[in-house]
């Protein structure tokens, strides 16, 4: 550890976690990468941030980050939402690594609920914060049962659920955290990203790591893994769409946040990915 990092971290180890814990988490990560989409139990630690606020992602990031990394943290696509600020500060304080808001410049991107609009490249690592890792959880509350269902690739229940949605409502009613099949084997929750981001998972050149701290599970998508959003031939998977463009940068192909301007129904639509939006407004030198 560098002297600077030691001073910044106030006596804690680099990236807060002790090296034994990091090693334990890295072992879980290696297993997760080796079996894409499989949920690896790991001995999640209590973190100084609350469960449900990204402790899984934080532990994954803490275990893989090194002094030469450049970290980006987003929540809802933005670098400046309060929890993203809080987590970025946590790592700035405990590691002293460089932080950035630019997707292209980051080596590690920790995210809650979004994948950046800017295409990821080989060598980058996405770390997702996962609240509930089990895709079958709303269908079967018991971990003892769902683990067996995964072992047997018994996913009929999920297809029945999707079919019942269509029968009752005319379409699949899962808006986000939409279930995906990994390399034709494991059913996986992509974390609560919008359906819009699911296609970005498919064969991504970046490594995708998922950490669920409270539930003590880690899973992963190695680069170029085939990821299929579940659907039916006559009801293909669709993503959110807007009739407007971003009213700030004019983008027609990014995920838009809806902002309530008054109490008369006026809405404004702007990019959820603030770095992407800013980059379009003021293109920076490469």
């Amino acid at each position: 550890m560098t002297a600077t990092a030691e001073r910044l971290s106030g006596g804690y180890n680099f990236a807060y976690l002790d090296e034994q814990t990091k090693r334990m988490i890295r072992r879980a990560l290696l297993k997760a990468v080796a079996v894409p989409g499989y949920q690896v139990p790991f001995a999640g630690r209590e973190m100084p941030l609350p469960y449900g606020w990204g402790t899984g992602g934080i532990q994954v990031t803490a275990s893989i980050i090194g002094p030469d990394d450049r970290l980006k943290v987003i929540d809802q696509g933005s670098d400046n939402t309060t929890n993203a600020v809080s987590i970025r500060r946590f790592f700035a304080k405990t590691t002293g690594v460089a932080v950035t808001t630019r997707t292209a410049d980051a080596t590690v991107i920790q995210s809650r609920h979004r994948i950046p609009e800017t295409s990821l490249r080989a060598g980058q690592i996405m770390v997702f914060q996962v609240p509930i890792p089990e895709p079958l959880r709303w269908l079967e509350p018991r971990e003892t049962v769902t683990r067996r269902m995964h072992a047997e690739a018994d996913y009929g229940l999920m297809y029945v659920k999707l079919y019942e949605d269509i029968a009752r409502m005319g379409r699949i009613t899962t808006a986000y955290d939409y279930p995906v099949m990994i390399h034709g084997r494991y059913l996986m929750r992509p974390s609560p990203i919008p359906r819009f981001d699911n296609p970005k998972l498919d064969r991504s050149p970046a490594l995708m790591l998922f950490g669920a701290g409270r539930e003590k599970r880690i899973y992963a998508l190695p680069p170029h893994t085939p990821v299929k959003s579940l659907d039916f031939d006559d009801h293909p998977f669709t993503v959110e769409r807007w009739s407007q463009r971003c009213q700030r940068c004019g983008s027609a192909d990014s995920f838009l946040d809806e902002i309530v301007m008054d109490d008369r129904g006026t809405r404004r639509f702007v990019c959820s990915d603030t770095d992407y939006c800013d980059g379009r407004l003021a293109p920076q030198a490469p």
């Binding site: 999640g44 100084p48 609350p50 400046n80 809080s86 003892t144 003590k216 946040d257 603030t274």
Partner: protein, 362 residues
Amino acid sequence: MYVAVKGGEAAIDAAHRLLAERRRGDPAVPELSVPQIREQLALAVDRVMTEGALYDVDLAALAIKQARGDLVEAIFLLRAYRTTLPRLATSEPVDTATMRIARRISATFKDLPGGQILGATFDYTHRLLDFALAAENASPPAVAPVRTIPAEAMPRVTDLLDTEGLIEAPETARTAAPVDITRSPPTYPAPRDQRLQALARGDEGFLLAMAYSTQRGYGHSHPFAAEIRQGQVSIEIVPPELGFAITIGEIAVTECHMVNQFKGNEAAPPQFTSGYGIAFGGAERKAMAMALADRALRAREFGEEITAPGQDDEFVLSHSDNVEASGFVQHLKLPHYVDFQSELDLLRRLREGWNTRREAAE
């Protein structure tokens, strides 16, 4: 003007400054000291130590001060501190039979060796607000010096029952090291060590409600408080270079043994079974609730029908930790703009479809 995504950093700093100010309260009122909390809010300290899973009265008192009296927040502070501590040694099992007793009661025997010692208890106080306490500097009434009872004069009730074989035999010394739930992810069905550790750290309110539900018919349970004992126990370790046990200190604990009937089966004669509870300091309600919850969760072991939440280990143990529960419930405060936008998009499309179908039908 576009303001929705900026300002998070400044807002957080301002909120933390405000929190510090609110924590202090009216500066005209003297500041509460950590020793005052430790000495005068001792049961809050005991709860924070128990559920924080760290025996340190000063740190627990500090956590209570820092958390503005929010005990679940204080428990979280202590846990987050505890998780970074190195494991220097594993103690020998605590022997509560050698406890230096401050309180000991049994609800199963009118009298027994060592007698009943009420100790400092709220039991039998009339819950009338004592306005004299509002006046400061009132000195408490004098108490007679506490007489020390030799531990051997006060055997545990379960040991007395065991001499007749009336109660299940205590688990003999185990060879395998017990699981450490802070170092390995939980598995179900939960083995005894995992269950007891999770219950010992579990939220008092949650376990109280679970215990209460088993008394009210959600899972059949007919318990007796065989014994509740409270006092100081020695902590011993065996340093490898010595090879024998040395005492490194004392901690205060409350232990509760509940006994329940068991009809027996081909392998075991009818006998009492027990539920076990233990907590730091004087956390007696917690120890009793834990003992009831422990016994109810042994339903599978005794071949009892599992019909109630209190008998279901995956249900109880997955939801008993208040640091986990508090975090996940409160994470709903975090922004969910993106997911909500997806839901809005979906809802609007569903409504379009509904309108189209209705118009077609008309």
